[in-house]
Each structure stands twice: as structure tokens, then as C-alpha cells.
């Protein structure tokens, strides 16, 4: 129990450090929100698409997933600039805690961005998406984005073309999340939710990748 509390305390310290950095630079939030909003504005100007819930839902998830790539790359690259990560790796904390902390930071930042993007949706496209089922869906998909994005960035962190290689692996891996998110949000927007099977699948997918991250942390960090 004491060990578990220690782990939570260390995760809190790392996440707070990331937030102090983000408050100064604002790079992650700005990159996610500006890219997603830009896509939504383009969609809004094409009025015939505007009327289709299916297409709107797909575009929302695709724009979010692509902007998340920008955000996670920015967030993770901060650890590698000036070897800041070495502070974490030489201190007496497990490598798996570093991965979990970064995934939690990314999850919180993506979720804040999603809330703002949904607000813009409300204003620009006139879709009211502040619905509990939809918000829960966005949160579990976001958690999947953040853990998969964190792992894929770290896997290629020592490769020369990491900015290209990481999305190449990220997009196929998040496809099940995009499918689930897109299909379920259409059902929610039509007030016709057909059960919670996708919710269960998405949560299981998140847990699998969280465990993968914990198990491969030693392989990722040690040279």
C-alpha cells in the first residue's frame, strides 16, 4: 500500500512538472486545438457535409487523432531536448512509472483540448455534444490515444525519422479506437445508442496497451 502511494506521489510530481512546463510554453494545447479547429472550420464551410452526422463524426475523430499526434510528439520531445529524461532515468524510480506519468500528462492535455474542440463544435457546427455518454466515450478513446501515442513515440525515440515513423505506427494502432468512437458517436447523436459493447472493447484495448507499456518499459529506455 505504501509502495502504491509512493508510485502515485511520483506520478503526481512528474505530471505537475509537465503542467508547469506547459503553462509556460502552451505548445501542446495550441497545436492540438488549432489543428482540430482548422479542420472543423473547413468542414463547416462546406454546407452539404454539415448536414451529415456520419461524416461529421468521422471528421471529428480523424481531426482529433491527427492533432493528437502533433501534441504527443511535442510533449514527448520535451523529455529528450537537453536530456531532461536523464534526470528521471537516473533517479530511483521505475521506467514503467515514467511511461505511465507521460501517458497521464498526455491524457489530461488531450482531454482539455477535446473539451475546447467540442465547444467549438457547438458554436461552429451547432452539434450539442455535451452529453455524458459522449464525454465518457471521448475520455476512454483519449486514454487509448495517449498511451498508444506515448509508446509509439518512445519506440522510435532513438530513430532518425521518429516524427514520421511514430505516426506511421500510431494511426494503424488507433484504428479500432477510431472505429468505435466514430460508430458510437453517430448512435449517440441520433439518440439511438445500441448498447455499450464498444465501450467495453475500447476500455479493454486501453488496458492492453497500458500493460504493454509497463512490460516493455525496460526495453524502451535501456541502451
Amino acid at each position: 500500500m505504501r509502495n502504491f502511494l509512493n508510485i502515485l506521489q511520483i506520478i503526481k510530481i512528474i505530471v505537475l512538472k509537465d503542467f508547469v512546463e506547459e503553462i509556460k510554453s502552451k505548445e501542446i494545447l495550441i497545436s492540438i486545438i488549432s489543428y482540430s479547429t482548422l479542420v472543423l472550420v473547413v468542414v463547416a464551410t462546406t454546407s452539404y457535409i454539415n448536414n451529415s452526422i456520419e461524416i461529421f463524426s468521422t471528421i471529428f475523430w480523424i481531426s482529433l487523432s491527427f492533432s493528437v499526434i502533433l501534441g504527443i510528439n511535442k510533449s514527448m520531445s520535451k523529455e529528450f531536448e537537453n536530456n531532461g529524461l536523464e534526470m528521471l532515468l537516473t533517479s530511483p524510480i521505475g521506467f514503467e512509472i515514467v511511461i505511465m506519468s507521460k501517458a497521464i500528462t498526455n491524457f489530461i492535455l488531450i482531454s482539455i483540448s477535446s473539451a475546447i474542440i467540442l465547444l467549438f463544435n457547438n458554436i461552429i457546427l451547432n452539434y450539442d455534444l455535451y452529453d455524458l455518454e459522449f464525454i465518457f466515450l471521448v475520455l476512454i478513446v483519449n486514454f487509448g490515444f495517449s498511451i498508444i501515442g506515448t509508446i509509439t513515440y518512445l519506440l522510435f525515440s532513438k530513430a532518425r525519422g521518429k516524427e514520421i515513423l511514430s505516426p506511421l505506427l500510431f494511426i494503424p494502432l488507433v484504428s479500432p479506437l477510431l472505429m468505435g468512437g466514430s460508430l458510437t458517436s453517430v448512435q449517440i447523436m441520433n439518440n439511438n445508442l445500441e448498447g455499450y459493447a464498444w465501450y467495453g472493447l475500447i476500455i479493454a484495448y486501453d488496458i492492453i496497451f497500458l500493460l504493454i507499456g509497463v512490460f516493455i518499459s525496460n526495453l524502451i529506455f535501456q541502451e
Binding site: 511520483i10 510530481i13 512528474i14 512538472k17 508547469v20 512546463e21 506547459e22 509556460k24 510554453s25 520535451k78 531536448e81 537537453n82 536530456n83 531532461g84 536523464e86 534526470m87 528521471l88 532515468l89 537516473t90 533517479s91 530511483p92 524510480i93 521505475g94 525496460n218 535501456q222 541502451e223
Partner: protein, 208 residues
């Protein structure tokens, strides 16, 4: 169980096919001052990074206090590694960088601990600045402060004198003498033995 404080047996490390460290064996006692020498690219930094558990090794064994160093959190808690590069988060002030590190080391009151010691190497004169606003010497002082102020049992110093002015060198020398008098083990790599007086008291040498 080995009797010596640190035992290194047949240590080898290679990058791709290039063998950087080849069958290194040595025993180090508690409180030893160990000089690591060798030409550029001979593996001094690699050796220190292996001891700090940043790098793994291919062959051999390393035991510290009888424990193997592989993925050992306890040993990480007693080893301080001061890199020759500047290590920092650019969006945190000097003070916040150091307090963050003290925090993850598990200091019970990192802010107070920092405030009590912030005159070491005159860190307090630029503590509110961000690292990218600092000179190389100031960045070095920040790194030395971070790695020398908390109490460890083993200190790994990779060219710690690099970029320091004469006043800072004198303060660093005094600090290292103080640490060594407390029976702490210090490994240092340098190309300039005359830069710090304490260097001349080294007890063992590892030639790479």
C-alpha cells in the same frame, strides 16, 4: 558475496560491432577516489553511464555492496551521476529544475532543502532564470548543484570541471574534499588533472 564495495568483473560493452569496453575488471573500496582516464571516445562516459544504469552492458558483472546493478532501484538511490552535458527542462526555471529533481529523489521537503543550500556555487544569483538564458558555466553549476547537494554514497562525475571559472573550481574542490572525507566513493573522468587539487589524491585508476 564479494567483500569489496564495488566489484567489476570482465565488463564488456559494444555499440554495434565496436567494442568500447573490453574485459574490464577492478575492485573499489568504500571512500576511494577513482580516476577514469583515456583518450576521446575510449569509453569513459559509457563506463559512467553503465554504473548509473543508463546503459546496459553485454558481458561481465558489476556488484555494488554485493548487489548486481541491473535494474536496481536501491542502487540508483545511492548513486549520483553528473553528466558532462547540461541536463535540464528548458521551460522550468533553474530553481524549479533542481526542486523537481530533489522531489523525485524523495527529499521530504525539497523547497526548504534547496533554500538551505542555494548559496553553493552561487546558484541563488540566477535561480529564477530559465536554463537557455544561462552561459555554459552556469548550466554546469546548475548540474553540479543538483547532483552534489543531496547525500549519496557514490558520485560519478564526468568532467565536472569543464567550463567552470576559477572561483567555482575552488568551491567544487572544497565540496569534493568534504564528500570524500565522509568516506563517499567518487569516480571522475578528466583530461586536466591540474584543474582540481583533489584529483591528485586519486587512489585507483581505470585506463580505458
Amino acid at each position: 558475496m564479494d567483500k569489496s564495495y564495488i566489484t567489476i568483473k570482465d565488463l564488456s560493452k559494444k555499440f554495434n560491432e565496436n567494442k568500447i569496453i573490453d574485459n574490464l575488471s577492478i575492485e573499489i573500496d568504500k571512500g576511494d577516489l577513482v580516476k577514469i582516464s583515456g583518450r576521446n571516445g575510449s569509453g569513459k562516459t559509457t563506463f559512467l553511464k553503465i554504473l548509473s544504469q543508463l546503459y546496459t552492458f553485454d558481458e561481465g558483472n558489476i556488484f555494488i555492496k554485493g548487489q548486481p546493478i541491473n535494474k536496481n532501484s536501491y542502487l540508483k538511490s545511492i548513486i549520483s551521476y553528473c553528466s558532462s552535458d547540461s541536463i535540464f527542462y528548458k521551460d522550468l526555471s533553474v530553481k524549479n529544475n533542481i526542486i523537481f529533481y530533489f522531489n523525485i529523489l524523495g527529499e521530504s521537503n525539497p523547497k526548504d532543502f534547496y533554500e538551505k543550500n542555494n548559496n553553493f556555487l552561487e546558484i541563488n544569483t540566477f535561480e529564477e532564470k530559465f536554463p537557455e538564458e544561462l552561459s555554459n558555466g552556469q548550466k554546469k553549476r546548475m548540474n553540479l548543484f543538483r547532483t552534489l547537494i543531496p547525500s549519496f554514497e557514490i558520485y560519478l562525475l564526468d568532467e565536472p570541471e569543464l567550463g567552470l571559472d576559477s572561483d567555482s573550481l575552488e568551491i567544487l574542490n572544497q565540496k569534493l574534499v568534504k564528500i570524500n572525507n565522509l568516506e563517499k566513493t567518487i569516480f571522475f573522468s578528466t583530461h586536466n588533472l591540474s584543474s582540481l587539487d583533489i584529483y591528485n589524491n586519486f587512489k585507483k585508476e581505470i585506463l580505458l
